[in-house]
């Protein structure tokens, strides 16, 4: 019986380690929150008022009357309009070298972006995905809309 126990315990310990490392540093903070705004983290949805933290892996979800503005640690500004789903896939930022990666996906809705220190340091660092395309960012401001019937 001892062997299966060991095999089970090892992946579990690794998982916990990864989760703690991910939670250790926040990716950003909500500065503007209007109407229905929620963050989904580990399958749990909670309301996201001003001051809420945003972490790698979070889904940011707005309702029909919702909009939200997030300032990230590299000074990237992302804001989404109503009926939107934005996934923060990856956020790594070294505040000394400004190296790292910022990858997000707009699953649905509208997104306004002002890129920050990551995109300024390296044109490869920031990517925004939509279901049909990948956007590469070289220090700029832009808007993204992901499909609706009107398209």
């Amino acid at each position: 019986m001892k062997f299966p126990m060991i095999f089970l315990a090892l992946p579990l310990a690794l998982t916990i380690g990864v989760l703690q490392a991910g939670a250790a540093e926040n990716a950003g903070q909500i500065k503007v929150s209007k109407g229905a705004v929620q963050i989904e983290r580990s399958g749990q949805r909670t309301p996201a008022p001003v001051g809420s933290v945003v972490q790698q892996g979070d889904l940011v979800i707005t309702g029909a009357d919702g909009s939200v503005g997030i300032t990230f640690r590299d000074n990237s500004l992302l804001s989404v309009g109503p009926d939107s789903v934005l996934s923060i896939d990856r956020f790594v930022f070294d505040s000394t070298t400004h190296q790292g990666a910022f990858e997000s996906s707009l699953k649905q809705g509208t997104l306004a972006v002002v890129s920050g220190k990551l995109a300024k340091q390296s044109p490869e660092a920031m990517k925004v995905r939509t279901p049909a395309a990948i956007l590469g960012v070289r220090g700029t401001e832009f808007l993204v809309r992901t499909g609706s019937v009107k398209d």
Binding site: L77, T130, A133
Partner: protein, 172 residues
Amino acid sequence: MLLPGKGPTPGALTVTSGDETRTLDQPYAAARVSRPGSVSGQKTSETEVRQTFGPALEAQPGRPVSFYLYFLADTDEFTPESKQVVTQLFAEIARRPAPEIVVIGHTDRVGSVPYNDALSLRRAERVRDELVKLGIPKGRISVAGRGAREPEVRTAEKVAEARNRRVEISVR
């Protein structure tokens, strides 16, 4: 779509779908991906932008603002100008929702990279401690050391330059 940039350089955006890539580098340039692998270029307008992206743009957080502190030579005293900066800093913090303060130390190019990285972080930590004494909650302040990577004045290596020995306080 790309917006008219507020900075000196407009930047660019690449839109890739399948094998096709289009680069947007003009204000109001736009690309549409109607199906995977097909990227078509088009031009949009401020009116169209307002219509579609009004709520997203209105929710944009305030842009981070930076203040700079300089020290009297060989002391931990701020220069008189820097004392005024502290007043402005507090006003900026007061008008922001959920304000965060990032204290970023910078050095000149005298010294090695690891030395300057450590020195810039020490400078930032010292200013952080000052700000905490002045009443800003420690939890709202983070510190960073940029070493000599972001000079105010470009110099050759090994050049002592007072304007680069500074601490930046970014409020966001």
